[in-house]
Symmetry: D3
Subunit: 297 residues, 6 copies
Amino acid sequence: MFSEGCGKINKMTMTININTHIDEVLLNALKEDLGNGDVTTSSLIRIEDVSEAILIAKGDLVLAGVPFAERVFQLVDSSLKFITLKREGSGVRAGSVIARIKGKTRSLLIAERTALNILQRMSGIATLTCNYVKAVKGFKVKIADTRKTAPGLRFFDKYAVSAGGGHNHRYGLYDGVLIKDNHIAAVGGIDKAVRLARSGVHHLLKVEVEVGNISEVNEALKAGADSIMLDNMSSENMKKAVNVIRTHDPDVIIEASGNITLENIREIAGTGVDIISVGALTHSAHAADLSLEFKPA
Amino acid sequence: MFSEGCGKINKMTMTININTHIDEVLLNALKEDLGNGDVTTSSLIRIEDVSEAILIAKGDLVLAGVPFAERVFQLVDSSLKFITLKREGSGVRAGSVIARIKGKTRSLLIAERTALNILQRMSGIATLTCNYVKAVKGFKVKIADTRKTAPGLRFFDKYAVSAGGGHNHRYGLYDGVLIKDNHIAAVGGIDKAVRLARSGVHHLLKVEVEVGNISEVNEALKAGADSIMLDNMSSENMKKAVNVIRTHDPDVIIEASGNITLENIREIAGTGVDIISVGALTHSAHAADLSLEFKPA
Amino acid sequence: MFSEGCGKINKMTMTININTHIDEVLLNALKEDLGNGDVTTSSLIRIEDVSEAILIAKGDLVLAGVPFAERVFQLVDSSLKFITLKREGSGVRAGSVIARIKGKTRSLLIAERTALNILQRMSGIATLTCNYVKAVKGFKVKIADTRKTAPGLRFFDKYAVSAGGGHNHRYGLYDGVLIKDNHIAAVGGIDKAVRLARSGVHHLLKVEVEVGNISEVNEALKAGADSIMLDNMSSENMKKAVNVIRTHDPDVIIEASGNITLENIREIAGTGVDIISVGALTHSAHAADLSLEFKPA
Amino acid sequence: MFSEGCGKINKMTMTININTHIDEVLLNALKEDLGNGDVTTSSLIRIEDVSEAILIAKGDLVLAGVPFAERVFQLVDSSLKFITLKREGSGVRAGSVIARIKGKTRSLLIAERTALNILQRMSGIATLTCNYVKAVKGFKVKIADTRKTAPGLRFFDKYAVSAGGGHNHRYGLYDGVLIKDNHIAAVGGIDKAVRLARSGVHHLLKVEVEVGNISEVNEALKAGADSIMLDNMSSENMKKAVNVIRTHDPDVIIEASGNITLENIREIAGTGVDIISVGALTHSAHAADLSLEFKPA
Amino acid sequence: MFSEGCGKINKMTMTININTHIDEVLLNALKEDLGNGDVTTSSLIRIEDVSEAILIAKGDLVLAGVPFAERVFQLVDSSLKFITLKREGSGVRAGSVIARIKGKTRSLLIAERTALNILQRMSGIATLTCNYVKAVKGFKVKIADTRKTAPGLRFFDKYAVSAGGGHNHRYGLYDGVLIKDNHIAAVGGIDKAVRLARSGVHHLLKVEVEVGNISEVNEALKAGADSIMLDNMSSENMKKAVNVIRTHDPDVIIEASGNITLENIREIAGTGVDIISVGALTHSAHAADLSLEFKPA
Amino acid sequence: MFSEGCGKINKMTMTININTHIDEVLLNALKEDLGNGDVTTSSLIRIEDVSEAILIAKGDLVLAGVPFAERVFQLVDSSLKFITLKREGSGVRAGSVIARIKGKTRSLLIAERTALNILQRMSGIATLTCNYVKAVKGFKVKIADTRKTAPGLRFFDKYAVSAGGGHNHRYGLYDGVLIKDNHIAAVGGIDKAVRLARSGVHHLLKVEVEVGNISEVNEALKAGADSIMLDNMSSENMKKAVNVIRTHDPDVIIEASGNITLENIREIAGTGVDIISVGALTHSAHAADLSLEFKPA
């Protein structure tokens, strides 16, 4: 089932800024584990010893994070050889070998846990995302992530969603306008909120509004919202809302959100929305099962 | 059921180093969300506007991370008033108010998601840990965490385990010796490994060895291990191993590890081990459901 | 003329991330000036000496950056009293007192140059922006900045443009899509470029395309661009382009760019474009003339 | 006119500390532009695409900053090939090709703006400095910079002055004693100020005093100043001051300062001073006009 | 005498974390010396000039820190060739050449002082440690360091102790339990203190208690301490204490501490303790005499 | 003997940059000791427990570093009360109470070692410096430090020298020109070296040259050196050199350097030099004996 995966990542698209950010995160992870040194490894293993290890899947999973795992090994020891055997975003069967790593035994042992922690988290997210994507097969809807990511790991979490075939929503509070219930309450109405947003931000940002019922849908449409998020509505009401919106302006983008599960997502997809955003992708995925095995000397 | 919780944390025990570390993590989380500013909030809300919001549980949970959520609000705006109503580690029913926060509307909206992300993750871990702790009620065994934590969040993850009534294993590679299968393979035997560890580390560190069968248990005992980890053994074999070890030296600490679930943990506790370590506590907990609600103006 | 200013800033709208960014920039500026200490001041002035100084305009200017100048003084010595007498964005006549600062003489002398450097640059930008804004009085066009800012000072430069009554374009490469000639050349056509952008970015970002003639305007319209930048076109051609665009879709935003000067901007405004972006605002403004004067003891 | 330039820089003379400082500044500039990624470029350009671009002068200018522009490209992508065709400090005609850059199209597009921003600022400063240097041709006077540099960019600004043929004054408050009017007022007299400075700093620093009239010149000489700055004096008074100083001690270094322009500098040079310092070099230079042009594929 | 040295370091055992820490320390040292540049060297030496220099011992010493000195040269200029001729931890006679360094003259001169400062401190510590180790020749006791290291230089100081043949005690407050007199006073008794420590820390840490007399020794034994530190006791009392402890439990580790000198250490070793810890190793060692000599061109 | 001290520090003269530098150094020192927490203290002491402790001298010493020790306590816990009883630079008898500190027991125990380490090092340097200063009583010579300081601790080391009555030489390579033997060898002569330095650095820096014999003294004088360092010369030759220099130009500053000890310094002072620089002040001082004692509860 997993063998074809869901994602469409060809290669990582990291740029300078993201690269320095990634190294910072990975180094912090290494430092919290390593402190002033690996007392076990440095007592047991001679500096000159070399080993070969394989990274294997212990369960079926959608793969995400191998380039980051590789980077962890490189940060520990740039002389390690890391050969990747499986593509990011591909489905991988239990027992498959994902990568081979060769070099100083000490370096392999020191990097092991940090590399696995990142790979297990990311592949867990990709696998869960892929399950959601497959659940809406046949519909033209996109499965999107949210800002409910682990503190400091948003890039990694969103990358994993992408590897799992999901679509990335805005990255943060700065690259998209999303007017939520609390904003509306504070401002005193959808119409005023949309107008303030339109004039307050630069001309290349669209304005999305969160609504909870048909009457608010109508307000949002009248105010000229570019996108409408249907939050915690029944699928029946969603269907009505989609109808109202499409009739008014077919260019408005419709997003469904709130309490989405693998059980109810197909029904929601059936309402005709463009995007379904799912917080669980990044805040409640189970770690994928992966391990590093040393080849006997 | 949750009302009494499981944890025993009175107050946070943060020291200088951990404090600067905590602020660093929380600021990084704020920065990745906020970038060059919250375009929605700064367009909609006037600087002088003030609001009051409550932090509420939307499901039953064991609480962890409130001081960190409070710190997020303070880092955004030190003039916010944050009143904590529930104790760390306590069981909290759905609908309970956990804290009240008052101050600039902008600040509340900017801090909201980051504060919730950390609180949801930590309370999720505490809740799962508490479930494990309750599952072994009546046994003298400790439920321990592992190094399988989210990259960069080990302090938070381990704190949450503690709030959930779990016990913290070594923090990293530097403050405890744990000889694992890969070490033994590389060194060429348990006896040699234990001896090298004993002479290679300072005199205040104990030596633990991972074993997979009774014959290795005997090797470890002969080598003088201070602690033995029974990895992935059947509960029957564990019982035998415990017997062998207790007979040989009652001071040796026995840890069980590998594929522990809520279903099998009670049986494992019955084998008489001292500690059961569970990776899932930190790598596969579901986010607890919490939200921030603004009071109508 | 300057007395009413051009800007509409009520108060600074800085949030946590920007605040830490601001402190970082100001501290770096202080450090490069101060090195291991102010050898003159520490030799001449006793630690306990106190003074009062005034910040005065030596020429007519539009004010920008006083809160940052104040922050410089606070970073040097948090016990200094800084009283602001003029509003950000207001027009200030030569000779006007902008602020009074009281406290340790050493602290005043150490902070002086760094505070003035930032204030002179920012007020220079605000003053130039205000001149452009006044030059198009009567037209509904916005004067916008560009990404041609001093390295590391984008926030300060854009804030100053805003204080001068200008409008901020996208902040960087990450919060707005702008397809430029080099992109089009590399991709092989406007149509393909717009389609790729539309499907490649999240649904809350609009797509702007740079064009150089009417034929490209038509291509951009057909491709469904949300915004069109007329680059380096004659005002006659611009007028034609505006006509074509408005006829096709009145919602498309039109920006003029390239070789804009105080001499030609009114003519360009007359073409009916929505936005005129001017690189000179931030890369070629003259420093405003301001100084710090100590009151005789 | 510009073809020979003014500067005497052979090669950059950067050392470790300055190098790390330079990278820090350039990375900050890249980060503020790039945020979490270039959304346009990553949508439009495939990772494997390569291009060639040329850096060309669009106006006559004195070149400064090419090694830093090159470093920006390298920081984005170390595999880019950057071939420099023009020497730092040389005069360059409009239309001249300054460098050729080849490599990944994405990398070129991401680095473009940041590289140009630094190059345009630095060449603008060098060009202005060269104009001042040429204005005093025939006199033995040096054109010097001041501490009126853009916050955080002092190294770059002073390097550009040097490339334009100017001379660098003290770098900051820590590597030279300059007693200004405010110091004298606070201390209560030139004589006391000079004596305090002499005994308060180490024996390898000279003492310069700012004076405004002949009577102060005499005080400074009596106090034994090593250098005297004539601030905001008429050229007539300057001439008298120079006479007084040279008569008293020919080793005293004389600096002119305050309201220096291209119009009056030759007259000031005629007074016989050793150094003329000009704040405008770094705080009011216009950006030089440079651009990056992609070669058609 | 020194020719054979005392240490047993084969090669440095630095891991990622320690590497980044080391570079940070060395760069900080370079920066505090170099500031905005070496004004002497950059005026005198042409960029293209090359030289060869030798690092020589000016007195007998035990060598420590050469890899760090090499790293200083590399951080200044990665093109320098550094050839190490003497092994870490070896005894070196006055006049011996320790390393040859070739490359840019500027780089050699800039790195010289910082490299020497670290090498002189570390070799001073190694030499003093070796003297203590030799003073107890024939006894099975270990000479250990303490936490009395120079602020920020613990890794370097402890490495040097190891190079001198000493043994490293716990690294800091986090990787070993040591209950001191102040702890006992605050808690109210040895027994309670040991019990609290045992239950408060993870199971892989041993518990050591500081005692000052036989009665406290007995309390510590009864409380089940894993290790006992005899602090500031007479050698006669130490002998008694060792006797009491060995009789009670031969596995308890015994450490002597307090006012240890080269004069009294042999007597203390004679009491039969396992470890003698000496603060002077790291807080009062004299710098070893080393210098960098340029070969005539 | 020590009761009057030697230093002339009234109060610390730290400015912004130095303050952030100081905090950085102290935090690094705390972090290397504290890691992820003080396992002993957090197990034994309750959060709410408070104590009072005194900082006492265990030997006669000249005090230096109390403000930094105080800062360490504040960085750990800003609620601690620290009352200083002895003045920086004063002579303190064994048994004297230097400060009283009250507050959380945990905070006192965590800060103790780091505060003592810095205080012991700095007071050790001040004490040694004071001994040198007293050794030349009656002469008008200054005892100066060198750049032979502990890596990263130059500010602290030089501050301590000042507290001990010594004089601070240039801070680093950037704020003073000192032409040494290696420079001269590389350049090819004293005359050329002095001329290059004079024209290469800004006009507020003096030029000092190191010489080893009378012939070089004459070269240096002819070249117009502002200051001459007599390196490793016999006191007889020094006397001759002083004579030659004073005759030639009484304004030239004369420094003696190389193998200065408490035994020979008075003889060297007798040669009439202005400054004697002593590397041992900072690289070979013994730690002063100080301790923190808890008052019985």
